[in-house]
Symmetry: C2
Subunit: 328 residues, 2 copies
Amino acid sequence: MKIRVGIYGYGNLGRGIESAIRQNPDMELVAVFTRRDPENLKIGTEGVEVKHVSDAESFTDRIDVMILCGGSATDLPEQTPELAKMFTVIDSFDTHARIPEHFDNVDNAAKEGKNVAIISAGWDPGMFSLNRLYASAVLPEGEDYTFWGKGVSQGHSDAIRRIEGVLDAKQYTIPVEAALDAVRSGSAPKLSTREKHTRECFVVTAEDADKARIEKEIKEMPNYFADYDTTVHFISMEELKRDHSGIPHGGFVIRTGKTGINKENNHVIEYSLKLDSNPEFTASVIVAFARAAYRMKAKGEVGCKTVFDIPPALLSMKSPEELRAHLL
Amino acid sequence: MKIRVGIYGYGNLGRGIESAIRQNPDMELVAVFTRRDPENLKIGTEGVEVKHVSDAESFTDRIDVMILCGGSATDLPEQTPELAKMFTVIDSFDTHARIPEHFDNVDNAAKEGKNVAIISAGWDPGMFSLNRLYASAVLPEGEDYTFWGKGVSQGHSDAIRRIEGVLDAKQYTIPVEAALDAVRSGSAPKLSTREKHTRECFVVTAEDADKARIEKEIKEMPNYFADYDTTVHFISMEELKRDHSGIPHGGFVIRTGKTGINKENNHVIEYSLKLDSNPEFTASVIVAFARAAYRMKAKGEVGCKTVFDIPPALLSMKSPEELRAHLL
């Protein structure tokens, strides 16, 4: 019997989940839930029901894992606890500072519903977090570094779009090669924000816009750009659509550390991702962890989990015997 | 209370465990067991008992985890099952083809002794295996690549030393940059043995040795060198000791895969290690997993486990709350 999945929210991430499920033959998509009018939502898979979110509770017997695809700012803090009372759920909550609070809320709800809930699955938080944990456990005396990019930051692109005279924009976060090399050398450098990443902006303006003023507003924007070396390129709408329509991302988690009686030996552990599509890769991670959620629930576990709590074998379609024989 | 550790076998790996324990303040080394005469074994830590292996069973109440540091060829297949009847144990058994058989033997013994046993902890098998598993679970449609090096292969160095006229030798396994680049491009190349790695040998011969014959014997040695492009350098004993006394190693685990409704997006997941000391890094991994073994035993678990079965949080000195707040 296949693992029956529901998708709750059908934006970029929801569509990514839909296509990831097709790559996992032990899973099937049962229904997509939307806040929009279901009549007007066209999804990519035939034979799958499209329902209003208010109908979700009638699906408790027909869905094994509900995958929440809303945003971390306002959707997930409400939706994940609410749905964890009814379903085994998984989300990709990514507001790092609020994870402890979200964990507690979801844990209480999941225990009330006797369900398993996994929060913050994706790549950061998610795969990057796992690599930070493994590396720091293996090399207790060392330094951690996380770099992001090259990739599109949605938040920074949105910030540019709010400037008067801007019609559209894409912002790329780019790790500084020299900083990466310094880290890999094992010299454990202290790096400022400016030394780690640069920001590159592609901006389409209204015809009569004051480009000098826009460039200045971008470069001086506090929190978003002021602490970085920022480059601004003004391009046409046609160029933006042609050259900057993708949603690539990625990054690096590096830990350097020392071992030996006299701390004489250096080691470098590096994990990196180069992703053509941020939402599709995030979705692929979520779907693997959804399998683990299903299996933990089947074993009688209850409550909120993160990627740190999940035995890796539970993510795989392969049996423990196959894993030991072929991947170990 | 600290986790009380025993070391069973005191070669390079055993010494690595000894120094790793010093970096993990929740652990203490209780005793080192040796097949040699304990009187003549000098270890690096004061106040730690040195005992003959035959005395191990009198330590069952004083050791929480016994770390087995013997070789995979003949030691561990006997020692791990034997000691798993008495102790929670961990080894770094690395004969990939014999893992299923070793697992079964250790599992039976650990269940008989109501202990937890972890086998094949280290970096390959170990950290590399974990990365192969995570990456293949996240990108079910893709290709896996493992490269080793640059590093010293003990087995290949030993093979050269057995040639007549050779006094000493060190062999480095080196991944081919062009192959790494082809893999990272996402083109999913089929790579032959020769295309993935080269072998570089530093050889000290007797004064009257026939170097041409030795070079030919090395390059044509079946299994070890015949399938590789091999370079042989003849150097003096002094140069060997000065420039090649380290035991560096490392490597790369790369998975490339596609996502999207039309498989239009490529992703690259890469994990790499650059290690100054192969045995010390292996020891550091083992010590982190020894913590997990102790915790699983304390929870009442029983039987043989591999790195695939262990929730990552169990490896860390940090509490689940700290991990969620700071590493997730």
